[in-house]
């Protein structure tokens, strides 16, 4: 459940990043376009060879006053479809060139003011003032459009604010568009991130190999099947190994039964000398050691490879602890039972964990047994249990002589020999059940176990 949420989180993160980038890019582009357009459009005006203004300038420069009339020396200055007139201060035309017939001869102040709207009888006109008169250049009708534009200073004052608002609206709009266009991207992204998460959990992944992430999905699928193949090969090998170990332990059991049976018979044989009967006792004792080793062989090998317990069920801790303790007392492994005091403080009967009961029993037995074997002259053993924050806590402590520090330091490693196996075995068992185990020498020896509570 949490994994699915995680993969969603990754996809959402990438998606948000994508939207932010897209809207930023869109806004920057907008700015560049706006200013760039202004610059380029003004440049194209200047690049034109003959603008009405430059024609007027050339005309005013090349026109000469002969005392009575004005003469334009180079008539080619004015293009053939243009016309030009010069009006004196009284409104009379004092010079003209190409003047169409529908252009009047006289101009009142009103006419002049009218021309400030840049049209004269629908001819677009341009004006240049000289001290001797007013030049008017006309170009063909409908050659250009002219529009009156006015801007108040207030408009310029609020411009930055409005630009900001426009930019903001742009960002929002761009984000929205990115969202709409990115929805399918998000879906695919979610699939891919989910696939990668599954991959990490070594679950089988089969993504749709199409669209934007085709190649990526293909690689993920291939990686998944590669992992699957490897795991299958590993499982086959592990299986072969544990079968082999099971076979070996099976094959040793029967001969060992014969050895033990015979040595036990010899132990009580009247025909043997006392010394030889003692030898038989030794054979039996050593054979029993081998028997115990064989019994642990499978368990040790599976723990060494951190194999997950596959027979998990709900285990109630309090009955388990009571049973283990009573079994220890009943079995008579306490040589002098009066030297030992075992106290149980089980606070929460509701404590349940999901576990392989036999393994858990073994772990707790090992820990109690550890206190017993390390304190041959007796000790007080206290076993406490309580629930805290969805965790089952079990504390096994004694007031004995503690254990060597090296044992505590190497608690995480299954030893190469069977000696000192108890604590590391318990540690591994708690570990494969998703729990934690800590051990300290503290006026005796204390082991704390934390296991996830099963509700």
């Amino acid at each position: 459940m949490s994994k699915i949420k995680n993969s969603n989180k990754t996809a959402i993160k990438i998606f948000i990043c994508f939207i932010l980038t897209a809207s930023t890019v869109a806004t920057i582009l907008l700015g560049i376009n706006f200013f760039g357009f202004a610059v380029i459009s003004s440049n194209t005006n200047d690049a034109q060879e003959k603008t009405p203004k430059s024609i007027l300038k050339s005309v005013s420069q090349s026109i000469t006053f002969t005392g009575e009339t004005f003469e334009l020396n180079d008539k080619t200055i004015i293009p053939s479809d243009n016309w030009c007139i010069l009006i004196d201060e009284n409104g009379n035309i004092i010079w003209s060139e190409n003047k169409p017939s529908d252009i009047p001869e006289r101009y009142s102040i009103n006419d002049i003011a009218g021309m400030t709207r840049w049209f004269l009888n629908d001819y677009p006109v341009y004006i240049r003032t000289e001290d001797y008169g007013l030049f008017i250049l006309g170009i063909p009708k409908n050659a250009v459009g002219k529009y009156d534009m006015e801007y108040s200073m207030k408009w310029f004052d609020t411009l930055p604010k409005r630009i900001l608002i426009i930019l903001l609206i742009n960002i929002i709009l761009a984000s929205l568009l990115a969202c709409i266009f990115g929805a399918s991207l998000y879906r695919r992204l979610k699939e891919v991130t989910g696939g990668i998460n599954d991959l990490r959990k070594e679950r089988n992944v089969k993504l749709n190999e199409k669209g934007l992430f085709k190649e990526l999905s293909k690689s993920i699928n291939e990686t998944s099947s590669a992992i699957e193949r490897k795991n299958a090969a590993l499982a086959v090998r592990d299986n072969a190994r544990s079968n082999w170990i099971a076979g070996i332990s099976h094959d040793i059991r029967t001969p060992l039964a014969i050895v033990i049976g015979n040595s036990e018979t010899l132990e009580s044989s009247d025909e043997l000398s006392e010394a030889n009967r003692k030898r038989a006792v030794i054979i039996t004792a050593q054979s029993i050691k081998i028997k115990k080793l064989i019994e642990d062989l499978n368990l040790i090998s599976s723990l060494e490879y951190d194999m997950q317990p596959n027979k998990k069920k709900i285990v109630w801790m309090c009955p388990l602890i009571r049973r283990i303790t009573s079994n220890i007392i009943n079995s008579g492994i306490l040589d002098n039972i009066n030297d030992y005091e075992i106290e149980l403080n089980l606070a929460d009967e509701k404590a349940a964990v999901s576990a392989d009961e036999a393994l858990l029993e073994r772990a707790i037995f090992n820990l109690i047994n550890n206190s017993i074997v390390h304190n041959k002259n007796g000790c007080r053993i206290e076993i406490s249990e309580y629930i805290n924050n969805s965790t089952v806590n079990i504390i096994i402590s004694d007031n004995g002589s503690g254990v060597p520090n090296a044992v505590i330091e190497n608690i995480t490693e299954i030893p190469k020999s069977a000696h000192g196996l108890g604590l590391p075995m318990a540690y591994k068992i708690i570990n494969v059940h998703g729990g934690k185990m800590t051990a300290v020498n503290n006026n005796g020896f204390t082991v704390k176990i934390k296991l996830p509570l099963e509700k």
Binding site: A246, S249, H250, D251, R253, T254, L256, A257, I258, V259, I260, G261, N262, E264, T265, S287, I288, K291, I294, E295, N298, K311, W316, C318, P319, R322, R323, T325, S326, I329, N330, E343, L344, N345, L346, E349, K350, A358
Partner: protein, 234 residues
């Protein structure tokens, strides 16, 4: 007790040495009617023709496995069966007992253990009535027939639950019986929720079996774990 020793016991194992050894062990304990078989066929023949009182079955046999041999036997005989096997995995144990076997011993075993288990099973099967007539707690006699305790000329009867608890303690006498095992026997449930009920029943049991119920000498509390029945007079 001696009538157990002449019971016919069948040992089935494909390992000749072990067969011989087990036979010798049982003979040295006084059992003299021992039959042996090395495979399923021989075993079935013996069970068909002899009144076998108890069978020890190996699981791996040359012409089949002990589990299917057991099923064959069960078709015509209710003879008590102990599996004696080199397969130590918990699964096999559960499988064997699940089929209805009476016990399961994993090789290698100690002589003492084997003899104890065989004797216990024989006693459970054939001496039930004699064995369970009753027992003494101190000077008081618990009578299983009447589910009551007798002392002097007085007699007090147990309630069914008290009687179940007392029997459970008696079956494991001198050993601790956990609170959980007691509750399972009496109420078919775990200890959780029965803490007070169990305490009340034990108190009533003591009122009937103890001379001084406040200082119990026979039904002993093992704090935090359970109870123990201590009987002096066996």
């Amino acid at each position: 007790m001696n009538e157990l020793k002449n019971k016919k016991i069948l040992i089935v194992d494909d390992e000749k040495e072990l067969l011989k050894l087990t036979k010798e062990i049982l003979q040295s304990e006084g059992f003299f009617n021992i039959y042996t078989a090395e495979n399923c066929e021989e075993a079935l023949n013996i069970i068909l023709n002899q009144r076998i009182a108890l069978a020890l079955l190996d699981i791996m046999l040359p012409d089949g496995d002990g589990f299917s041999l057991f099923r064959e036997i069960r078709k015509f005989s209710a003879v008590p069966v102990i599996f004696l096997t080199a397969r130590g995995e918990a699964d096999d144990k559960i499988h064997g007992l699940g089929l209805g076997a009476d016990d399961y011993i994993v090789k290698p075993f100690l002589t003492k253990e084997l003899v104890l288990r065989i004797t216990a099973l024989l006693r459970r099967t054939y001496l039930r009535n004699q064995e369970s007539a009753g027992f003494y707690v101190g000077h008081r006699y618990v009578d299983f027939e009447t589910a009551s305790v007798k002392f002097g000329d007085k007699e007090k009867t147990f309630t069914p639950k008290e009687f179940i608890l007392l029997k459970k303690l008696y079956e494991n006498k001198n050993k601790i019986v956990t609170n959980d095992a007691l509750c399972m026997a009496a109420w078919g449930d775990g200890y959780y929720g029965y803490e007070n009920t169990l305490m009340v029943h034990i108190r009533r049991l003591r009122e009937k079996t103890e001379e001084t119920p406040s200082e119990p000498k026979h039904i002993i509390t093992v704090k935090g774990i359970g109870y123990k029945l201590v009987t002096e007079n066996e």
